[in-house]
């Protein structure tokens, strides 16, 4: 199992081949389309992260090995592609590792504007929510 930073480095490497913005977006759209999305039944008001521009749903479970399993969705496909990356980084990681993680890949691949609070696409809130889940499961485990 790769560590959070190993996965981040892997993503940065993958994105390094794209010079053109729209090629990056094509790839994100592809990732978004293949995202293992949250079940419709789990798209409850509890699981919605309201952005003003796009909506994001997120749900988390703890697997028997003590790692977290996230499922998510968004109504905007590029947002969904970024979600797919975030989930790839955080899925099957231990709560403590998620809490301790420094998220640097988004900056490195040039998508940090998508995390600006004014974008209101739900991504920033989603990352916060992932950390809350990690904190909550960590507390439960103790």
């Amino acid at each position: 199992m790769l560590t959070i930073n190993e996965i981040q480095d892997e993503i940065i490497e993958e994105f390094s081949v794209y010079d053109e913005w729209l090629d990056k977006y094509e790839y994100l759209i592809e990732l978004g389309n293949s995202l293992d999305i949250i079940d419709e039944g789990q798209k409850t008001p509890d699981n919605i992260i309201q952005g003003c521009q796009s909506r994001v749903w997120l749900d988390a479970k703890m697997d028997s090995d003590g790692t977290l399993n996230f499922k998510a969705d968004s109504d905007a496909i590029i947002t969904k592609g970024i979600i797919a990356l975030l989930i790839r980084v955080f899925n099957h990681q231990k709560p403590q590792d998620i809490i301790d993680a420094q998220l640097y890949f988004i900056d490195e691949i040039g998508l940090s504007a998508n995390l600006s609070p004014t974008r209101a696409n739900g991504l920033l809130a989603m990352i916060k929510q992932i950390r809350y889940y990690a904190l909550a499961f960590n507390a439960l485990n103790k």
């Binding site: 913005w21 729209l22 977006y25 094509e26 759209i29 003003c52 521009q53 796009s54 909506r55 109504d75 905007a76 496909i77 590029i78 947002t79 696409n121």
Partner: protein
């Protein structure tokens, strides 16, 4: 009008964004500034900066003159009867908040009713809601049809003897619809009900004559007509402004102050508390002169051609839904690529150097009407070209291919 020459007046338009020439189509949000406006701002600060209405010294007099001449210019531009009817504000939002607060204090009581159209910008809804709630008044909604045209024939049936004001936008920032405000005003006036016209999206496209229109109040923003941000106007008929209590207290708006009793300044200063934005006002003067020089009819004619061209081209792509199909529109084109999210479309256009707005455009009731979460909005101004429309259409084609195949 020589558009290429006009473009040279706007230095920002020469930029490249992500390697593409900037195509600025977010003019309904704010317009770019011509060099003469930029120069005037620089000049005011370089030569005349001082606090207006407050000094006996030369600079203060010059600055006051710039400010008061700007007021006269606005008065002429909208053909108000008197300069006392022109109140400077930060923008349309502050103009409407000022009116909503003062008007409600004076005229609205528990059980009274206000009529607001379904296509208003939040800034012509929320200030009224806040004040109506305080007073226990009720807001009634004048609906629009699926083409985005107000159902003016319903107005009569919404009016009761409790109705205190009708608030309507001249042009919709989301749908582009130009409303027949003259007709609305006639109907309201036949019941002695005053009307507020939100002209934020009209002032830059349509010749407005407040006396001919006979509106009682009008709000506008300077930044949407090529002036600086942070300056706007509340127009009000003198008989109303005289009767309304001040909105904010402070310097400039008083005659005498003591702890026992304060008396207020004459109009329009009664509504202009605090140090005024004389540079903004001056920049509005310059911007209005610029518009006058080009001729608002010429500007409108060019924008109408752009809108027609864009509408035809976008419709011809197929698989696109256009929101706002009124017969009479300002140059606003709202749409969605079927099956794609407006946010994704906007993100892709952005990377092609095309600036559009996505989302609800501060008009959530319009979104609710159509059952959507947002639209992509392209809005055209005097400096936009047919080539830019072509770039937009190519961009939409590209986005469509990426997002829905």
């Amino acid at each position: 009008m020589d558009i290429q020459q006009i473009r040279n007046d706007f230095p920002i338009l020469g930029q490249k964004i992500y390697g593409h020439p900037l195509v600025y189509l977010d003019n309904a949000a704010t317009t770019q500034k011509p060099q003469c406006v930029l120069d005037s701002i620089m000049k005011f600060y370089t030569l005349y900066n001082s606090n207006i209405h407050r000094g006996v010294h030369y600079l203060s007099e010059k600055a006051t003159e710039i400010y008061e001449n700007a007021r006269l210019k606005v008065k002429e531009f909208i053909n108000a009867k008197s300069r006392t009817e022109i109140v400077f504000t930060k923008g349309s939002t502050e103009a409407i908040n000022t009116l909503a607060s003062s008007f409600s204090q004076r005229f609205i009581n528990s059980g009274d009713e206000l009529i607001i159209s379904e296509m208003e910008h939040h800034s012509n809804i929320v200030p009224w809601q806040l004040n109506a709630q305080n007073k226990g008044a009720v807001i009634k909604v004048l609906p629009f049809n699926d083409r985005g045209e107000l159902l003016i024939e319903k107005l009569e049936s919404l009016i009761t003897d409790k109705t205190k004001i009708v608030c309507v936008t001249y042009a919709s920032n989301t749908l582009g619809t130009v409303n027949d405000v003259e007709k609305i005003i006639k109907i309201a006036h036949s019941h002695n009900i005053p009307v507020l016209v939100d002209a934020a999206q009209a002032i830059q496209h349509l010749k407005i004559d407040v006396q001919k229109l006979d509106c009682d109040f009008l709000a506008l923003s300077g930044h949407k007509i090529y002036a600086e941000t942070g300056i706007g106007i509340l127009y009000g008929k003198e008989k109303f402004l005289e009767e309304l209590p001040p909105y904010q207290g402070g310097g400039d708006m008083i005659k005498n102050v003591s702890f026992a009793k304060t008396t207020y300044a004459e109009l329009p200063l009664k509504f202009e508390a605090g140090t005024s934005n004389f540079v903004g006002a001056g920049s509005l003067h310059t911007a209005l002169d610029y518009v006058d020089k080009l001729g608002l009819e010429n500007i409108a004619a060019h924008e109408a051609e752009l809108l027609n061209y864009a509408t035809q081209k976008v419709e011809a792509l197929g698989g696109i839904t256009i929101y706002g199909k009124a017969a009479n529109k300002v140059s606003v084109l709202s749409f969605n690529i079927d099956g794609a999210h407006h946010y994704d479309t906007g993100m892709i256009l952005d990377k092609l150097g095309i600036a559009v707005r996505t989302g609800t455009h501060c008009t959530e009731p319009i979104m609710q009407h159509f059952g959507i979460t947002g639209t992509v909005r392209a809005s055209f101004a005097l400096y936009n070209t047919f080539e830019e429309v072509d770039a937009l259409v190519d961009g939409i084609k590209r986005a469509k291919k990426m997002l829905v195949g």
